[in-house]
Symmetry: C2
Subunit: 296 residues, 2 copies
């Protein structure tokens, strides 16, 4: 996998009610983007109702103490060249992509000056967040569509190019809630060079260079097809059920960390060690073993 | 894993509309149980409506050419000792368990002469089929209940003893259709010595000694926790999201075979070879490689 040297961070959220109440995942995004001094731009390009989405997220970010919140919409490709939109992105500390359709994001922004600017700013420290479509677009390979609650089938998932913020990956969202294990595994069968990363609702993966950490209520599921010993894909026709042997799966609950460069979770043992030996008194993020639960 | 020496066979079906039309999976069951000369007993112990279930399956088996079809119900434990019910099972070539609640099966039959008789007859060649609850009850560890469409959580799946026909396994049904990857993985996290076997609707696994083959529309997904490098279970509390690293997953479409004793799929390469070298002219069950599909 290509090593990322970007100084920016990503907050990829799997959808769900994330702007209500305490909005803990948006709070995490704001914290990374300089807290109360953040300059946040809400990117509504994915949604059909940009005004409602802008109002919803402006309200949430203001509740979290951010005064400087703007919204930028792109409803046709020409909008991606507007000077005041580019100016807002140039000065932002955090860019947040709402949900909707990820294909709108790549179709409207792909190859424009806005995309180039996003990448330049990300290299230099910009925090980019997004939920649902706003998270799905972050990987180099992007799931465009395909049914959940089905077994892996040849060609059952539409895949296209994403926005190249996470390289070597295929991000899916609403993962457990919409029964998308088969869908993401289908994508991995077609692109085994990329890792499938399934993010649950109200759950985030926070990318910092070549590592991510999980936050929120659910889990992040990583499907690694690299070790597959057999795939029936080359012998099968469109719509056929796929046989895939020896796929490696990691389930990561909140606090877990993953090494994207080496495609492996950072073991809890190591976490405990590094927490102990850390100089800044960081609290250990793994619970201590406890006595056997009754009634298991 | 314990080696099975039973001469009987199992047909475990993942639920769905299996008695309608051509009923291909019931046809497979009938074929194994001596075809038109089969003596089939429909076991309605799992269901709340034994008369309707008996009528539905009697009708289906008669359509498949079986004249000798009886129904046996067990609605209280005393029913499992009834001489005419035991007599029917004694003379059956095939026993078929309808859907319903798997806990009814184990609670009503567990430890009775009826269970002992089933096992004795299975050792000597009886074919035992079942769908949904009738399949879930076949493994030594049995999923009693738990939600689909959720990420793995400590204690979120209720597990109890099954009917010990497949040893070293935990069978789940309606697998892809009800988004049960997280549910079965939760079960495997609690019982990593057993393999999780998730059967899709209108899909069967056909067990013959220490091997099974997949038939039908969907897939069988095997979740092997044996190779897990880390589990957060000992450090977590009830309801906490689980972290599980390095779980091995195999997806098996129709025609795939799996070696239960060695916990590994039987590679298609070997299938092709054995098909070629077989003396009885068995047709190869793997498609030949073909030229690249357009528009992938």
């Amino acid at each position: 996998m290509e090593l990322s040297e970007a100084r920016g961070k990503l907050v990829a959220i799997g959808g769900g009610d994330i702007s209500e109440g305490d909005a803990p995942l948006l709070k995490e995004f704001v914290k990374l983007a300089r807290g109360a001094r953040a300059r946040v731009v809400v990117m509504t390009v994915a949604t059909d109702d940009p005004q409602a989405a802008a109002a919803q997220y402006k309200d949430a970010f203001k509740r979290l103490g951010v005064d400087d919140v703007k919204a930028v919409d792109v409803s046709k490709r020409a909008d991606a060249l507007k000077p005041d939109s580019l100016e807002a992105i140039e000065h932002a500390t955090g860019l947040f992509f709402t949900g909707g359709d990820q294909l709108h994001i790549t179709s409207m922004i792909g190859g424009t000056e806005m995309q180039a600017l996003m990448h330049r700013r990300y290299e230099r420290g910009l925090v980019i967040g997004g939920t649902s479509a706003g998270a799905a677009m972050m990987s180099n390979s992007m799931i465009v569509g395909g049914d959940g609650d089905d077994n892996p089938k040849v060609g059952a998932v539409e895949i296209g190019p994403g926005m190249d913020l996470v390289i070597g990956a295929l991000i899916d969202t609403h993962f457990s809630q919409r029964g998308r294990f088969g869908r993401l595994l289908t994508a991995v069968a077609h692109y085994p060079q990329d890792m499938g990363i399934g993010i649950d609702e109200e759950t985030a993966l926070i990318v910092n260079k070549n590592e991510f950490e999980v936050a929120g209520k659910g889990a992040v599921t990583v499907i690694d097809g690299g070790a597959m010993t057999y795939t029936s894909l080359p012998y099968a026709e469109a719509g056929d059920g796929l046989s895939l042997y020896g796929v490696s799966v990691h389930v990561l609950a909140a606090g877990s960390r993953f090494d994207l460069a080496n495609r492996r979770p950072i073991e809890a043992e190591e976490k405990r060690k590094s927490a102990k030996s850390s100089e800044d008194g960081g609290k250990p993020d793994v619970k201590k073993p406890r006595s056997r639960r009754a009634g298991r």
